[in-house]
């Protein structure tokens, strides 16, 4: 029997049915209603600085090449030959003059146009190559160097889509005079979990920190979140958590990067760089955002940012019960080499495939999928009601704001999820 979306999410999204996480039909609706109609993160300009530079990306399960063309413009095309569908690019990143399909050697420019068909030399009738390029992603826009694509021709501008999340993202990105850069190829690994749980985790779920991660996270760190932590929902589906530190906080406790154990062991010039950066923060991002000490961010539907360990992540679905999780370390572009190396390691030690905190996260994400996939418990929906209605507007911060224990970030996500799926349910 086909599951109805209205039976999975109630009016105020305080109850979520288990099969929202595990049902095949629901997953098909997600592809159409969410991944077909949202802005999806593709890559960052620091990865494609020169003409011919490219990186691989995904929009849901569809492989994408994001590349800088010979005209210095950025292009996003589906990585699939127009002849038989074989991928024309196999490398994670690099610099190319042509993408060549291994099957019959059709070759494409970095911009995605079909350049040569070797077989046509022997034929009378020449195909119209201008109609046979790689399929471009219909919409491609960028904000502060972050490139997003959408399959929906009619989607609102990226600027509007991000809305007030720009305030929170900018609090990090604009801190650094030379901007930020993504480090190397993404770490990408497969987890037997549903794509939404990594996303929900980063949208605002700092509540699990003191418990799931109790083997590593210190009581002091948890107390700081209780004392100063806030959760903001700008538009339902987006979310940000952070600590709003009092104005007179010592720079060692508020400067970005300083809470890393790796930084504590680093040479003094690393500390100096971080303090110097912090000193300019008021000037660069204003007094409110200068004292923001971020935790986790989520951008609907599947991009997230972990401020404390400076990494961007994308949760790529591979069916209801599998996710290909991608993550990148992010560093200030103008930082000295030893600072960059210290900071990239602050990500990899704790997150990514070898990360000591990620170990616990992926464990429960896998277990949650089991919990969502068995039978005879569908009448016992998951409780999403913590802090219902307690969020309110804030004098200095955009969105609805409350303590981090309020699960409004997750209700917002599932309200948007429900509406997006219902819009395509009857098609």
């Amino acid at each position: 029997m086909t599951i109805k979306v209205k039976d999975l999410v109630n009016e105020d999204a305080t109850l979520i049915g288990r099969k929202a996480w595990s049902d095949e039909h629901i997953y098909e609706l997600e592809k159409k209603g969410i991944f077909g109609k949202s802005w999806l993160f593709l890559g960052h300009e620091s990865q494609i600085k020169n003409p011919g530079d490219f990186v691989q990306a995904y929009m849901c399960e569809t492989p994408i090449i994001l590349a800088r063309g010979s005209d210095d413009k950025v292009y996003a095309n589906i990585n699939s030959c127009s002849h038989r569908g074989v991928p024309v690019c196999r490398a994670d990143h690099g610099n190319a003059k042509r993408f060549v399909c291994p099957y019959h050697n059709w070759s494409f420019t970095v911009e995605g146009e079909l350049a040569t068909i070797p077989q046509e030399r022997e034929l009378q009738c020449k195909p119209d190559k201008s109609q046979l390029g790689l399929k471009p992603v219909p919409r491609l826009e960028s904000w502060k160097g972050f490139y997003f694509g959408s399959f929906d021709e009619n989607i609102e501008s990226l600027d509007d889509y991000l809305g007030d999340m720009k305030f929170y993202l900018g609090a990090f990105i604009d801190r650094f005079e030379g901007g930020i850069e993504f480090v190397g190829a993404p770490h990408r690994w497969v987890i037997d979990a549903n794509w939404k749980l990594p996303m929900e985790n980063q949208l605002g779920d700092v509540n699990h920190g003191p418990f799931l991660h109790a083997s590593i996270v210190t009581p002091e760190a948890n107390q700081e979140i209780i004392d100063h932590g806030l959760s903001a929902v700008t538009t339902p589906g987006h979310g940000a958590t952070f600590r709003m530190m009092p104005e007179d906080t010592h720079p060692g406790l508020v400067a970005w990067g300083m809470e890393s154990p790796n930084v504590m062991m680093a040479p003094p010039e690393v500390h100096q760089y971080l303090f110097d950066t912090h000193e300019k923060a008021v000037e660069r991002v204003g007094p409110v955002r200068a004292n923001m000490k971020g935790l986790t961010y989520g951008v609907y539907p599947n991009l997230s940012f972990l401020w404390s360990n400076a990494s961007f992540k994308v949760s790529h679905p591979r069916g209801p019960g599998k996710v290909e999780y991608w993550s990148w370390s992010v560093v200030p572009a103008d930082a000295p080499e030893n600072v960059k190396k210290t900071l990239r390691n602050n990500y990899a030690t704790f997150f990514g495939p070898g990360g000591v905190l990620e170990q616990e996260d992926s464990e429960v994400w896998m277990q949650q999928f089991h919990g969502s996939n068995f039978d005879f418990a569908d009448d016992r929906k998951y409780f999403y009601g913590l802090g219902l209605g307690e969020e309110k507007s804030h004098p200095d911060l955009p969105g609805m704001v409350d303590v981090t224990a309020n699960e409004h970030y997750a209700r917002g996500f599932f309200e948007r999820w429900r509406d997006a799926l219902q819009a395509v349910e009857e098609e």
């Binding site: 196999r90 490398a91 994670d92 990143h93 690099g94 610099n95 190319a96 480090v183 190397g184 190829a185 770490h187 990408r188 690994w189 497969v190 987890i191 418990f211 799931l212 109790a214 083997s215 590593i216 154990p261 790796n262 062991m265 290909e324 990148w328 370390s329 190396k341 990239r344 390691n345 990500y347 990899a348 030690t349 990514g352 495939p353 070898g354 990360g355 000591v356 990620e358 170990q359 616990e360 992926s362 464990e363 429960v364 896998m366 089991h370």
Partner: protein, 184 residues
């Protein structure tokens, strides 16, 4: 490079050292294992990426070399792990906590070490390459086989050896493992 003189005794000693190490790790005797490491150890797992073939390298071994696939400590990329003794100790301490949920109950592991080769010898410092397979089993999950090469620098000490440097080249295509946060 100093061509090593590999006597049967040396080969035997090194192999015994690795067997002992594997037994300690499989037996979860992590504190004893820590004594096999120098205080300034570097423990590294490079990220393994899919790269473009450089046209100039066509037909040469460089074109298909393993090194081209590695984003390690000195690369512009992001290694999967680059750790010193403090982070290793953090991982070890974690194993003894009840709330290390991904290891509760602990995984059952079995390491096979082979192809032990003395690559270089410089006084008391040895460069040793070895291969390993590790079976990793946890309740409620399928089993996983980790496979890789270890590039070690060992230091001769009174009565044995210590590991001063370990780089682990993992043979994954896609990372389809629950974690790479283990001791290889």
């Amino acid at each position: 490079m100093n061509q090593p003189v590999v006597t049967p005794e040396l080969q035997h000693d090194i192999e015994q050292f690795y067997y002992r190490e594997a037994r300690m790790l499989d037996g979860r005797q992590y504190q004893q294992w820590m004594a096999l490491l120098t205080q300034d150890i570097a423990y590294i797992i490079p990220s393994r990426v899919n790269t473009m073939v450089n046209n100039r390298d066509r037909g040469k071994e460089e074109m298909i070399s393993v090194e081209r696939e590695l984003e390690g400590v000195d690369s512009d990329g992001c290694p999967i792990r680059e750790e010193g003794i403090a982070i290793i100790m953090m991982r070890v301490e974690r194993a003894f906590k009840m709330n290390s949920w991904s290891e509760n109950p602990p995984a059952r592991t079995r390491r096979m070490v082979g192809n032990v080769e003395v690559m270089e010898q410089d006084g008391d410092n040895l460069t040793i390459y070895s291969n390993f397979h590790m079976n990793y089993a946890r309740p409620g999950s399928r089993n996983f086989l980790y496979s890789g090469q270890r590039r070690d620098k060992l230091k001769k000490i009174e009565g044995g050896y210590q590991i001063a440097h370990r780089e682990i080249i993992l043979d994954y295509g896609d990372i389809d493992y629950p974690t790479l946060g283990l001791f290889f």
